[in-house]
Structures are given as structure tokens and as C-alpha cells.
């Protein structure tokens, strides 16, 4: 491509693409939308290990909610954890259990996991209305924005906007807190990227710009900055290389 991809050249757009563009993001296509791949500057992966905030809002995710949802997903070979826990799936997808029958499945950092698509297709292929309960699709890709806060200062930054004790020794990997973050109802899940502390953050997509500003503000004293998906991938790759 000769001209760089701009968010407006595709129909699907991140809820905060203007903020990202204003911060100098370089975009890459994925899931029919532009995602902030990099913000440039010195070693972005190191920034992500220190304190980074990434927007994964355009990334693929599906939800299933309502009577029978958890059982149906289990019947699809999905690992369903306890309520308020998340669990990695065989292909790297991540399942977040938000209630007895309220579940969300996201693709992975590298967007290679196809489980969300497979589940959406499997549900749609079934009879409608259903003969037996299997939950209903939830438009989590649209209703939630998806941010990832990474790095050694992530817990300290969260402590400025969230009243739940999220410090790594008190909030284990795989735990979910559904709580208030900067006065916004939110899902906070600890799903580290390799050995780097990472909180997966989901909240009202209409409030995404507000939320992004609040979190960046809270990050400032620790030298935090926005990072792109390439930095996240590097953090993931570097560690797995070591392993």
C-alpha cells in the first residue's frame, strides 16, 4: 500500500479512533477495521512493560447471554470457568464469564484465534427460536470498548480510578472484577501477556473517549503512554521466545 490506512477508510471504526489518530497512531487493518498498531517513539514494547494502554476495540469478540448459554458453550468444547473468572481456550481465545449465563469470548492479542467466529456461526446455524435453551448472542463487540492496560505500574495506575484491590498478589491471573472504573461500570480482568501484568478492560463503548482520557491521566505520573498492538505482540513474543 502506498497510502497509510486511515480509520475512516473502513466502515467499522474504533470508538476512539480520533483520540488514537491525534496521538499519532499508525493503523493496521484487522476484523474489517483499523486498529492502532503503533504509536512510534522509542521502544514501544518497553513502554508496554512499564505502563501502556492499548485500544483493542475493533478486535473480534462475541457474547452469549441468557438461560442455557454456559451449557451450550460447554457443549461446543469451550472451557467455561467459574463466574468472574476468565479462561484461555485451546486456540488462544479468551472466555470471560461475567455471570452464570453471561459469557464473552475474545480473540487473542495476535487476532489469530477463530473461536469467536466459530461460535457465532454455530449459534446462527441452529433453529430459531431455539427448541432448547442456549442463550442469545450479545453484541459485546459493539457495546463494550476493549482496552488493555499493561506493565509494572498497571496496578498503581488502576488504584487511582478503581476501588477494588487489583494488586497482583491480591488479584490473581484469571480473576475478573466487575466494578466501577473512573465512575464507569466496567469489567476488569487480569489476563497477563506472557510475564507482563495486564488488565483487560471493558466498558460502555459510548463512553470510550471519556474513559481513555481518564486512564491516560491516571497513568501519567508513572510515565505511562499509549501503545499499539505491535508492542503487545512483541511483549508476548519476546517472553515466549525466552520460554
Amino acid at each position: 500500500m502506498n497510502t497509510p490506512l486511515t480509520p475512516q477508510s473502513l466502515a467499522r471504526r474504533s470508538f476512539l479512533y480520533r483520540k488514537l489518530a491525534g496521538l499519532g497512531a499508525r493503523f493496521a487493518a484487522g476484523n474489517e477495521a483499523a486498529i492502532a498498531a503503533s504509536f512510534g517513539g522509542a521502544d514501544e514494547a518497553a513502554a508496554a512493560r512499564n505502563l501502556g494502554l492499548a485500544d483493542l476495540s475493533p478486535r473480534r469478540r462475541v457474547g452469549f447471554k441468557g438461560p442455557g448459554a454456559a451449557d451450550w458453550l460447554a457443549s461446543q468444547g469451550v472451557t467455561v470457568p467459574e463466574i468472574n473468572r476468565c479462561a484461555a481456550q485451546a486456540d488462544g481465545a479468551m472466555l470471560f464469564r461475567l455471570g452464570a449465563n453471561d459469557l464473552m469470548i475474545t480473540t487473542d492479542i495476535g487476532a489469530t484465534a477463530a473461536l469467536p467466529d466459530r461460535l457465532a456461526a454455530a449459534w446462527a446455524a441452529l433453529e430459531n427460536p431455539p427448541q432448547s435453551p442456549r442463550g442469545f448472542p450479545m453484541p459485546r463487540q459493539e457495546g463494550f470498548c476493549w482496552l488493555v492496560l499493561t506493565g509494572q505500574h498497571a496496578a498503581a495506575a488502576m488504584a487511582k480510578i478503581c476501588g477494588v484491590d487489583l494488586r497482583p498478589h491480591r488479584f490473581a491471573a484469571g480473576e475478573i472484577a466487575q466494578t466501577s472504573v473512573a465512575r464507569l461500570s466496567a469489567v476488569v480482568a487480569r489476563a497477563d501477556i506472557s510475564d507482563t501484568l495486564a488488565y483487560q478492560l471493558f466498558a460502555d463503548s459510548a463512553s470510550a473517549e471519556y474513559w481513555w482520557d481518564c486512564i491516560l491521566d491516571a497513568m501519567q505520573e508513572f510515565g505511562g503512554r499509549p501503545v499499539g498492538t505491535e508492542a503487545l505482540a512483541a511483549v508476548q513474543g519476546a517472553a515466549s521466545g525466552r520460554a
Binding site: 468472574n84 461475567l98 476501588g163 477494588v164 466487575q178 466501577s180
Partner: protein, 92 residues
């Protein structure tokens, strides 16, 4: 700030919760007198001592029951609403 224990989400600051009024049985709307219905709609018992109340964890919109001592403001117990309401209510 008080801590309340949500049956689904665990202990949280009370600011995450919304009060939903006393747990009260709805009288049969077809049989109740006007007076009984007005009592049900308008009058809180305002009991001194342990009361049963509806509370909702706002981030998850999860409704549950709390037993709270209005004299000491101590939250005695919280539990899912299914403990009190476990079958479909019918109206005829």
C-alpha cells in the same frame, strides 16, 4: 464507606450498590382492597431491627437480598433472590 458483600461479586464498597426497597409480598392485585394496595405501594415498614431488602450491584445489574440491622447498620447476611423466589409467579 461500608462494605457490602454481593453474593455474585464478593465484598465491595457500598457505592457500587443500589438500594431497592424492602422485600414485600405483592398482595393479589385482583383480591386486594384499595387500602391494602396503597399500603403495598406507598408505605415502607421502616422497621427498627433486622430488615430484608432488595439491593442491586450496579456494575452487573445483579439483584439480591440483604438482611440489614437498621439500628446498628450492620449487614447481617446477603444471598441470591432465588432463595426467596424460586418459582414462576403467575397472575390470573
Amino acid at each position: 464507606m461500608k462494605i457490602m458483600k454481593c453474593p455474585m461479586n464478593g465484598p465491595r464498597n457500598i457505592s457500587e450498590f443500589v438500594w431497592g426497597g424492602e422485600v414485600r409480598e405483592m398482595p393479589d392485585p385482583t383480591a386486594a382492597s384499595d387500602h391494602e394496595w396503597a399500603e403495598y405501594v406507598f408505605i415502607e415498614n421502616n422497621t427498627k431491627g433486622v430488615v430484608r431488602e432488595w439491593w442491586m450491584h450496579a456494575p452487573t445489574s445483579y439483584w439480591f437480598i440483604a438482611e440489614r440491622n437498621t439500628e446498628t447498620d450492620e449487614i447481617v447476611r446477603t444471598y441470591p433472590a432465588t432463595e426467596l423466589y424460586n418459582s414462576r409467579r403467575e397472575f390470573k
